[in-house]
Symmetry: C2
Subunit: 422 residues, 2 copies
């Protein structure tokens, strides 16, 4: 298949290009390097050093024996999107070219507007360019599990059947997103659903959990093929941040009670799942939603796992909860479905701690890069609009030491290292 | 109260400024005159001649004895919004400053992007400006009943309680909008709901039905105080279009089967309802949704009413259904709630035919203006992206002639003048 990746320079995009190339697909893609700019704005950089796109493309061709087609393009420019599709004639488009940060969107009105208009416009441009240029192509749109929020009931995959006042209907499951960014993804999902209906397009909307990891097998040993790993408050995600904290001896910092529960998956599982979606396209006119995660974990539970794995590498760090800059429920019911990908053959990694071990090994080599941007680890963007560094909730305490041979059951949160009600 | 009206030059905005001034409120507002530009782009103009804003403001001051505060402002410019709020210090903001046209948004990618980014950006700007400048102010955001679409079950007012797999939750009612424009309103509703939660704002989100009418009592006899009345395919709404068609002897043109059912309300009822919302604000942090319409009618049912009333004025026109340029259900279940406004004291006009008589009387004076833009009456924007004038579905037929003394029950569709299955 010819697969076009929007956001080729990003965490997932750069990895996916390699993974799909190894599977024999022909890959092209675009990026405007906004992610590099945004992370720089947050006072940070990738923990792994990121080559220029020129060097990346050379390394890619050297390893895979064929060039990677690349356009430097602002996806908000419709004419450019249409021209790329005309030249490349994709069978599928993976839209990873959005701003993916909740805290970044919450900074102020300019950031909220930038994130929402950037994400809405690029998605609309893709929908129209598919309609006009390659109407049979399959759009794989990256959404987020965060579109659902924490509704207090089970979360189906996109749709549910309801009975309301004696009549039945299958309707989109209500969304309760938790940031301007997450709402931008809801706006995008709604737009994609509508386009499938009126333009007879086909799309998979991926409600992705929180991804963690530094590499996939396709990358081999060439450092220039590694993907970026962010650890700042805005573009770093929970486990990646914890691992970066661990290698510089910084406490691991769940927010608030740390009992928030989310779906997580290793980077290699994200690649596997996106590939399954691509290689099993929906029929024309179909809009389908996949919830994509390996398993649900509590945030502190994951921090404790990182702590445990780090200890085996001689890295001794504490878990210390911090003031929560977000407005979110810290204890809540959470049970999302994720059957659709299993039905297509998804084989979860499950060994999360092994993955954490690989990550820590990669990151230790770059500890001075993390150390240099240590300030970026501590959030200062609050959901109520305030700006100010958060503080630790408690003085250091001896944390719960779980024996390595008896990990907790995957889907149960560990007890918080701090008393309830904190 | 000091009430700021965004979209002061528009159909609702210009009317509301007068209505609220008569009730003793102090009104300011802004407009960038986009509506005039958009209607011109559709090859049309208002059936009623619209004075320049300078003349409108003079006529306003002459009639009401006080000036109307006006800013010419692009609401996508945040700094300008903040400056207006700082100067005016509103107690309430009515956001009527969005692009309100489904067909306009469906023309092509540029129009889809313009409508969605314009509407999303202006709403975000208002939310942040309220938070930063006047956090106690009440935002009345104009949404549309079209956000819900036709889901096949009863439509509550914004939220509903569900039981899902044995657990209960109160959640936003799923939206199934039918155009890029309607989705832009869903995006806005979601953003307003979220802002109320995180910034502790108060807002009323008005899911308004289709408004019709040429005047309200506050306008008196000064033609310069009349509001605009559009009849083109994009900015004209059903009853207004039928009345404009009637005065030039053009057939009245329901789309498709004409059995589509929607909530409708006269312009004077829209004013009454918006005033009730403004004068009964929600508490801080509350996001409430009002479904705002007088009654549900079928489209052909309304066309037949217009035909009947027109006949009493010596205007004899047929009802002739046209090819439907939209992608919508033409026969469907439709039962939306609208209790919230009744609870606040809404007294519906109910006499729809009397309202149509007033409209026809106003419009007859301007028949040459409608005649001059006759082409604009026939749609050419199709939901599937095609552009081409629609045709009549049938040769002229003798239409159903309902006796004037026995109008059909308000909430029942009349039989279609054409066989079912058309």
């Amino acid at each position: 298949m010819r697969i076009f990746i929007a956001g080729l320079d990003g965490y997932l995009g750069w990895s996916l290009a390699q993974h799909l190339t190894l599977r024999g697909h022909e890959i092209g893609g675009a990026d405007a390097f906004f992610r590099r700019k945004w992370v720089d704005e947050m006072g940070s950089w990738s923990a792994t050093p990121i080559a220029t796109m020129g060097d990346r493309l050379n390394a890619f061709e050297h390893r895979f024996g064929r060039p990677l087609r690349f356009w430097e393009a602002d996806l908000r420019q419709y004419d450019f999107v249409e021209r790329m599709f005309s030249e490349f004639q994709p069978d599928a488009i993976v839209h990873l070219g959005e701003c993916p940060s909740a805290p970044y969107s919450m900074i102020d009105v300019n950031h909220a507007v930038e994130v929402q208009t950037n994400n809405v416009t690029s998605t609309l441009n893709f929908l129209f360019a598919i309609r006009n240029i390659c109407p049979d192509a399959h759009l794989v749109k990256l959404g987020t599990m965060g579109e659902y929020g924490t509704p207090g009931v089970d979360i189906p995959e996109g749709f549910f059947e309801i009975e309301f006042r004696g009549r039945r209907a299958k309707l989109p499951f209500p969304r309760l997103a938790g940031s301007w960014y997450h709402w931008s993804k809801v706006h995008g999902s709604n737009n994609v659903m509508f386009a499938c209906k009126i333009y007879n397009l086909r799309a998979t909307d991926v409600m992705q959990g929180v991804v963690f990891g530094t590499r996939i097998d396709a990358m081999g040993d060439d450092e220039k093929l590694l993907t970026r790993v962010d650890f700042d408050q805005a573009f770093g995600t929970a486990v990646n941040r914890f691992c970066c904290q661990a290698v510089i001896g910084h406490p691991l910092t769940p927010y608030g009670k740390g009992q928030q529960r989310r779906g997580f998956l290793p980077l290699r599982d994200s690649m596997q799942c996106l590939t399954l979606a691509l290689e099993n396209p929906p029929r024309k006119g179909e809009y389908r939603v996949f919830n994509q995660f390996e398993e649900v974990y509590g945030i502190t539970e994951l921090a404790v796992k990182v702590k445990r794995v780090a200890a085996t590498l001689g890295l001794n760090v504490e878990v210390r909860n911090m003031e929560n800059p977000r407005d979110e429920m810290e204890e809540h019911y959470y049970r999302p479905d994720h059957q659709n990908l299993f039905d297509l053959g998804y084989k979860p990694t499950h060994d999360v701690e092994a993955e954490m071990g690989i990550m820590l090994g990669d990151l230790i080599k770059h500890r001075t890069r993390i150390e240099a941007k240590r300030e970026a680890l501590i959030p200062d963007v609050h959901w109520n609009g305030r700006r100010g560094k958060v503080h630790f909730l408690h003085p250091p305490v001896p944390s719960v030491q779980a024996p390595r041979s008896a990990p907790s059951p995957a889907n149960q949160p560990l007890p918080s290292p701090f008393p309830a009600g904190v």
